[in-house]
């Protein structure tokens, strides 16, 4: 008889897998999962801010390839994910979601941007740009495909993300972090925290260096989180069914540039 080697489920911050600085964990899905502290969350925001310029500065083609690479890596671990989620269909949906958004990377600018015919001798155009650091609260269920449906549109346009995983089903999120770590997603672009949403969400919503927050995955009353988000005028996303370039657009700024036309 061989005793299986069990995995330690840790946080994913800045490209590494630390335990919670608090040294705490909670037992869930038959494992001791890291219980992220407020300080872990602040560390994750710092890592995301540092990673943001590089990710935003990559060509859209390149970002698209990285997202496609995530799909490839997930495909190779389909069995593992199916075991965790108990649903092959959910895994398929998550993988296909990455592929779908990968293809959007170099099309968002064309669909969401414009050149604007102003009444004067000026060239004027509008382009979408990432807003910066985005906080994403993953829905409790489905733990994997629900998470990917929120995460992929947030990063495809060049944002860096701090993600709070499903509290009751966190293992898929941690395993996804291992996929991200081996998919050419630069460290810090996605940071995954496991723990108590009631502790973490308010800190994320009120953090002054987070530009936008996706509350679609929050069950129950979000009013207090929205109030906290006003402290630095965060963009707040409240819902988002299915897949859509508009989900990506919710985390993009529109920049308009004017230049005179002349000789």
């Amino acid at each position: 008889m061989r005793l299986p080697v069990k995995k330690t489920y840790k946080l994913y911050i800045g490209g590494s897998f630390p335990r919670s600085e608090s040294g705490r964990s909670y037992e869930v899905e038959g494992a001791n999962v890291a219980l992220a502290s407020r300080k872990d969350l602040r560390d994750a925001v710092r890592a995301a801010r540092e990673a943001f310029p590089k990710w935003a500065g990559m060509t859209a083609y390149n970002r698209g390839q990285v997202l496609y690479r995530v799909a490839e890596m997930m495909e190779g671990r389909r069995e593992q994910f199916a075991e965790l989620t108990g649903s092959e269909a959910e895994v398929n949906s998550a993988v296909d979601s990455w592929v779908w958004y990968a293809g959007w990377a170099d099309k968002l600018g064309q669909v969401l941007g414009s050149s604007n015919p102003v009444a004067g001798p000026y060239f004027n155009f509008t382009v979408p740009e990432p807003t910066g650091v985005v906080g994403v609260v993953a829905p409790e269920e489905p733990a994997l495909s629900g998470l990917v449906a929120r995460l992929a549109p947030a990063i495809v346009g060049g944002n860096a993300v701090v993600l709070i995983a499903s509290e009751h089903r966190p293992l898929a999120a941690v395993t996804l972090a291992e996929v991200l770590a081996t998919s050419d997603v630069p460290g810090g672009v996605v940071n995954v925290l496991t723990g108590r949403k009631a502790d973490l969400c308010p800190v994320l919503a009120g953090h002054m260096d987070v530009n936008a927050i996706d509350l679609a995955g929050v069950d129950g009353d979000r009013a207090e989180l929205e109030r906290l988000a006003a402290e630095n005028v965060k963009r707040v996303v409240r819902n988002g069914e299915g897949q859509s370039p508009w989900h990506a657009a919710a985390f993009l700024e529109l920049k308009t540039v004017w230049h005179p036309i002349g000789v």
Binding site: V111, S114, N116, P117, V118, A119, G120, Y122, N124, T126, T131, N211, D221, R222, A223, E224, E226, R227, A229, A230, E231, N232, V233, R235, R238, W246, E253, L254, K255, T256, V257, W258, H259, P260
Partner: protein, 492 residues
């Protein structure tokens, strides 16, 4: 004004020659003695029973008494808007809705002189600007969005756009009619009805706009105008039957509104403050750049959220730029807003003058060096001379806080990276200017500046087709262009 900033002798007028006064006639404007609230297509007495005068900032003369709406008044306006929405405005053939907006655009063009004079009277801005900027742009905004009303499905691929319902809109005093048009035109084009709260100090053009609605035969209740102070605005924002809140104003109030709307599911757009960097590289065409600097900060007395209030000059041309700027400032004519030669008009209110005065005093105390050209300021009214501060450190209040007045803070930089770093070192992100002859540098700067509008080799240009709005604490959502529709739609 009592500020240390204005103790210098203004008796010398350095212009090469004197201008004769060229005042625009006020006769074109016929004001009522007092105005009620415009609800359900007619002026009604406010339930609050309260009226306050709207005052001309150039002369301190009361122009007309204006109703101050309370919660009950706002509720009546929202009910009227809801009924108009349910009674057909949202179902009217889009092509017909478009025609109402075209009518409004045309009437604004036809009555532009009347509106321009009233705008300058009530708000203090130079007639040259209200005539050549505010009015043409307001009319153009309605004309632009009129065309969208029956083409909305082309704006959102693969989605079915629907109106939201009642839009509650609160606008500022710096471009009263223009901000009204930025709010009302897209809201109506998208099929919503409106409750609009004009700014406390500049309600009169919005009230005259009610007559445009009458002439255009816009159905009663489609646009309701409730005048008053911040209390009325707060009532509009928090009314439970308002589906959409749009606000233009200070970041401080914007945050309060975002908090008030939290948890209600109301759609929100905020167009808030700014502290824009106007960046001059050593290869820029300097005379044009100096015109851009002046237009950037002294346009509309600097009462502009996207004003280029932080000048960033490359060190090698610093002396030259400052010398040219000071010389140019000496030719600015400050005075009667109705005089066609006036460049800088009156400060909009006593409260705003106090704020400017306080920040300018702080700038001097913190160690910045002040310059104001000699100029005669009128005895009555609220005025502030064009001001530039040099020797400014980034930490000074005048480099950090929005002054919303004709006050420029000058900083320097050596490299493009340093310019980007300094320009982005602010919680705001509304706009920025870049002046250089090098095309690749323009594009690289435009990419790195974290702001919603970048003016390259120009400044303070606006167009209904050009999206406008901020990054970071300058707000979210865009006004203008195709992108200005989405804030007023539900995409199914």
């Amino acid at each position: 004004m009592g500020s240390p900033a204005v103790k210098q002798d203004r008796s010398l007028v350095p212009s090469a020659f004197e201008y004769a006064p060229a005042p625009e006639s006020r006769d074109v404007v016929q004001l009522e003695k007092r105005y009620g609230l415009f609800i359900g297509g007619e002026f009604v007495e406010p339930r609050s029973g309260e009226f306050q005068p709207s005052i001309s900032p150039a002369t301190e003369e009361p122009l007309a008494d204006v109703a101050y709406a309370d919660a009950e008044d706002v509720a009546l306006a929202v009910t009227a808007a809801r009924e108009a929405f349910d009674d057909g405005w949202s179902d009217i053939a889009p092509a017909e809705r478009a025609k109402y907006l075209y009518r409004i655009a045309r009437i604004l063009q036809e009555r532009s002189r009347e509106f321009a004079v009233l705008e300058s009277l009530d708000g203090g801005k130079p007639i040259r600007e209200s005539r050549d900027v505010d009015l043409p742009l307001a009319a153009a905004h309605f004309f632009y969005y009129a065309g969208w009303a029956d083409k909305l499905e082309y704006a959102f691929p693969n989605r079915t756009p629907r109106p939201l319902g009642v839009a509650g809109q609160v606008i500022p005093w710096n471009f009263p009619l223009l901000m009204l048009s930025w709010k009302v035109a897209p809201a109506l084009a998208a099929g919503n009805t409106v409750v609009l709260k004009p700014a406390e100090t500049t309600p009169l053009t919005a009230l005259l706009f009610c007559d445009v609605l009458r002439q255009a035969e816009v159905p009663p209740g489609v646009v309701n105008i409730v005048t008053g102070d911040g209390r009325a605005g707060a009532e509009v924002v928090k009314h439970p039957d308002v589906d959409k809140v749009a606000f233009t104003g200070s970041t401080e109030v914007g945050k309060e509104i975002q908090r008030a709307v939290a948890g209600t599911g109301k759609k929100l757009t905020l167009e808030l403050g700014g502290k824009a960097a106007n960046i001059i590289f050593d290869d820029a065409p300097l005379d044009q750049a100096v015109e851009g600097i002046v237009n950037g900060i002294y346009f509309n007395q600097g009462h502009v959220c996207c004003a280029g209030s932080r000048l960033l000059v490359q060190e090698s041309i610093y002396e030259q730029v400052i010398a040219k700027l000071k010389r140019r400032m000496g030719t600015l004519r400050v005075g009667d807003p109705l005089d066609k030669n006036t460049d800088v008009g009156a400060i909009n209110s006593k409260a705003q003058l106090d704020r400017i005065t306080e920040l300018v005093a702080a700038g001097e105390e913190e160690g910045a060096e002040i310059f104001q050209p000699p100029c005669r300021l009128p005895e009555k009214g609220w005025w502030f001379a064009p001001t530039v501060f040099t020797n400014v450190a980034q930490s000074y209040r005048i480099a950090q806080e929005e002054i919303f007045g004709p006050v420029l803070s000058v900083l320097t930089f050596r490299t493009p990276d340093e310019a980007v770093e300094k320009a982005n070192n602010t919680p705001y992100g509304l706009s920025a200017g870049v002046w250089t002859e090098k095309g690749s540098r323009i594009l690289s700067m435009a990419q790195q500046l974290r702001a919603g509008v970048i003016w390259a080799n120009t400044y303070n240009r606006f167009d209904p087709g050009s999206p406008f709005g901020g990054y970071k604490e300058s707000g979210f959502g865009r006004e203008g262009g195709l992108h200005g529709l989405e804030p007023y739609m539900r995409l199914e």
